[in-house]
Symmetry: C2
Subunit: 499 residues, 2 copies
């Protein structure tokens, strides 16, 4: 390793320490913080943000990068490391500090306005903030790359290497088969939901969550499970990856699958280890949002909602449910948790319709940034999109264009990751099955460690060594192709719905 | 307010924010942190310590102080503020950074060695570390004030204005009456402990704790109760003061009184508000360790173990205990929680013998620093001191000179605060009773708010406006006098033991 790399690692680790301290404050804020502490907490977080920014734009980083980029004898890991550090350094230094401060302030006001607007079903109150966030994001994109389309620049922040065109191409294919599969399902008799309405107390739901975290291989000495309004995974340190869930008392699958989902994210974070020398640095970070989502969705849906998984674990679930589980058998449970039904709320959508929710947002975002959609037209455009894609109509904006927090915080370009994650997940799964043909038998035999080991070796340990595009090629032998998700859905849902 | 004061407040608030962030990390470490996170956590804390130090020694503080000290028109609050900022600034700047780093490293090694030595009952293994901590503290004292006795300098860190001589004078009086009261109690029939051995589950103990926090006036929207190995109170922000307890399943008074004790600390922190302009600064900090301890001990013992308090709350306690409380009546409960019995472990000592534990440590510490006691003689000196003061013999060093963590971390001069707290508490209480003669009737009537209001007005809101010596004079009209504690103990225990 070159001495410049060693120094870069030092500077990077300090930045990472500051980010992890911020993550502790954020975790505490969502789980245990008393309500009145919020005022000072935001000052604490602002102080850390300022400190992180200082460390990120340290001119010494620029000098070290220039020195390393001039060398011809970098190792593969050094090359990859220089690439990710360069990417982040350029981003941080290209944004003027005054802009960053203004953005942070506006985003904070916008989020507060959105929360009120959602509560009051009042899009008009949110509209000026949405306009402002679109405008500021166009400005941000211009700072980062004045020669690219603004939406391409934003997409690249979450899914490096992706563009509006590449995402649109992938989503066009996905849309056509999702709509077709959904049509076939709608022609069949609907499955009865046998899980709803069973009152399972929080303590029992927590025991269920803990059981499944353990089954999946989540390391309890390197993390924990807590409760928050919205489930999340957060990395507070290389050996401190925590997840949260929430307990809906009359629908226990909510916490069960949110725990499995977040455990999927956590297993990824716990398994990142491209090279011990790079521990606690940018090389030891997840490659992208979509690849992260591939891990959570793979465990939640492909493994966690599979008949094989429940062949093994349904007795344990029944035992934990006790009396309240009476009348629920393996077959009706597996069918219930795989019920497909178009609905208005993305976060509660099934595997088939979920992608359509994301496409709706992607198409609206693209239009907002290429100028073909004005902010005031968003509510009506939303309704039209849901009619077109899901065949249902949002009765109000609260369940329509005001449902998600992302736009209020300016996270345009983020939504596609959610659906790309399903595509990556299915493609990884197909590659895994080729290598481990008896994986389903193993799962029904109680062994999910083969799945974890495969994901670890192929995806997790890599960290940020490759771009998402390079990674999927390396692991599966081809570029991202939505056909694998199609195959997975057809095979699974033709059995469940009998078409 | 002068513009220099305003700027000083800004710089101070930033320092305080960093300290509070450190407190969040510390709280998390003791309550929820997964075990493997400890390694990175210490790096996170070290980074914050470095940052806090940078902010504390900022030369601009020195310039602002000099400018303010040259003025003749400072307000009373400005004067007090300049005094405390000057004190801390001088301390921080007088210690060379290399010494601070060395000290932190040695203290960390020493604490680890102490934990092992205590576990293995092996004083010899701890001895070199104890020598080192004594030596480093002599060095520290020399840096801070080369013209004073080292132990005086250390005492002043915890109890500003106190000296070995002043503490010794106070303790001499206290020792004589504690020994005498203890002798009288030993001549009387011992009280039966009716609380031990009742198995109260953690959940019930938590509900008991929550009930009494509320009774005392602890603000739940500005703090929380959690579990840790050693109970503590920590301030994470002006509106975020958290306490912890631990649940001993076969001795429920342990968590009950530790919760009341920590609530007493928290009520103090929650009530500090010398002047809104000084919120989040050194003026809005507790005046000293001993005054802090006076608040926790006053609520725990003077209020919390009084017959008046239980006249009102015993029915609620019985209701919460349910079946497990059967056979426990008000009188036997109040007697049980006030049982006096010399024992080896300070933290579990009753009100009468507690001060003797502290005197033992004070006398040993003084001797270590004036050279009349060598480190290798500590175990035997400890045994002799316990024979002399408490009439009992430690069977091993684990229950003897290795029991407390303080010396291993170099906190010499800290112990006296624990007993001075009892003295301050009793003196405050006597003043309170003069102003509110029917305070006991109010307490038995369910109203402790008069006690809180009096403490708020006289002690809490003052923050660091006065030195401890000035405060006690202002509030009680006289200097600290151990006679008030004597009166309190005689009155209470002559009734309980009938002498």
């Amino acid at each position: 390793m070159h001495k410049e790399t060693a120094r870069l690692l030092e500077l990077d680790r300090e930045h990472s320490l500051v980010m992890h301290i911020g993550a502790i404050l954020g975790w505490d804020q969502e789980t245990y913080m008393p309500p009145k502490a919020i005022e000072e907490r935001s000052s604490q977080l602002a102080l850390l943000e300022g400190l992180a920014h200082q460390k990120a734009v340290n001119p010494e980083i620029g000098e070290l990068l220039a020195a390393l980029e001039a060398k011809s004898d970098l190792s593969e890991d050094e090359k990859a490391y220089v690439r990710v550090v360069r990417r982040d350094y350029d981003r941080e230094t290209k944004l003027p500090e005054a802009f960053v401060t203004e953005y942070a302030k506006e985003a904070s006001l916008s989020q507060a306005a959105w929360a009120d607007a959602k509560k009051n079903n009042d899009f008009a109150a949110f509209k000026p903030h949405l306009s402002r966030m679109v405008e500021l994001n166009k400005k941000r994109a211009h700072y980062l790359n004045p020669n690219a389309k603004p939406y391409d620049v934003l997409l690249d922040l979450f899914e490096p290497g992706s563009t509006q065109e590449s995402v649109a191409a992938v989503f066009a294919k996905m849309k056509s088969y999702l709509v077709e599969i959904l049509t076939r399902i709608r022609e069949r008799p609907q499955i009865e939901d046998k899980c709803s309405g069973r009152r399972v107390d929080k303590h029992t739901q927590e025991r269920i969550s803990q059981y499944f975290m353990k089954v999946l291989g989540y390391e309890r000495d390197r993390g924990r499970l807590d409760v928050s309004a919205h489930p999340f995974t957060t990395t507070l340190g290389a050996d401190d990856v925590r997840i949260t869930t929430r307990y809906v008392e009359d629908y226990f699958p909510s916490s069960l699958f949110s725990t499995i989902h977040e455990s999927g994210h956590a297993l990824y974070e716990m398994g990142i280890d491209p090279n011990p020398d790079y521990r606690g640095t940018k090389l030891a970070e997840a490659v992208s949002m979509a690849v992260h989502e591939s891990q959570s969705r793979l465990w939640e849906n492909i493994v966690g909602r599979s008949p094989a998984f429940w062949e093994r674990h349904f007795p344990a679930l029944s035992a934990l449910l006790g009396e309240v589980g009476e009348g629920l058998d393996l077959e009706s449970f597996v069918k219930s948790i795989n019920r497909v039904s178009p609905s208005l709320i993305r976060t509660e959508a099934d595997e088939v319709t979920y992608g359509l929710h994301v496409i709706a947002r992607f198409e609206l975002e693209s239009a907002l940034f290429d100028g073909s959609l004005n902010v005031e037209e968003v509510p009506e455009a939303w309704r039209a999109k849901y009619r077109e894609l899901l065949g249902i109509e949002a009765p109000d904006d609260r369940q329509g264009c005001l449902q998600d927090v992302h736009w209020s915080m300016g996270a345009f370009g983020y939504f596609p990751s959610y659906a790309l994650g399903n595509l990556y997940g299915a493609q990884f799964w197909a590659a895994l099955k080729k290598e481990i043909p008896d994986v389903e038998a193993r799962i029904s035999g109680g062994d999910t460690s083969a799945v974890l080991a495969w994901l670890r070796k192929n995806v997790h340990v890599q960290g940020s060594r490759y771009t998402p595009g390079e990674l999927v090629k390396k692991v599966t032998g081809q570029a991202l192709d939505p056909v694998w998700f199609e195959k997975y859905l057809r095979e699974k849902y033709s059995k469940i719905y009998g078409f």
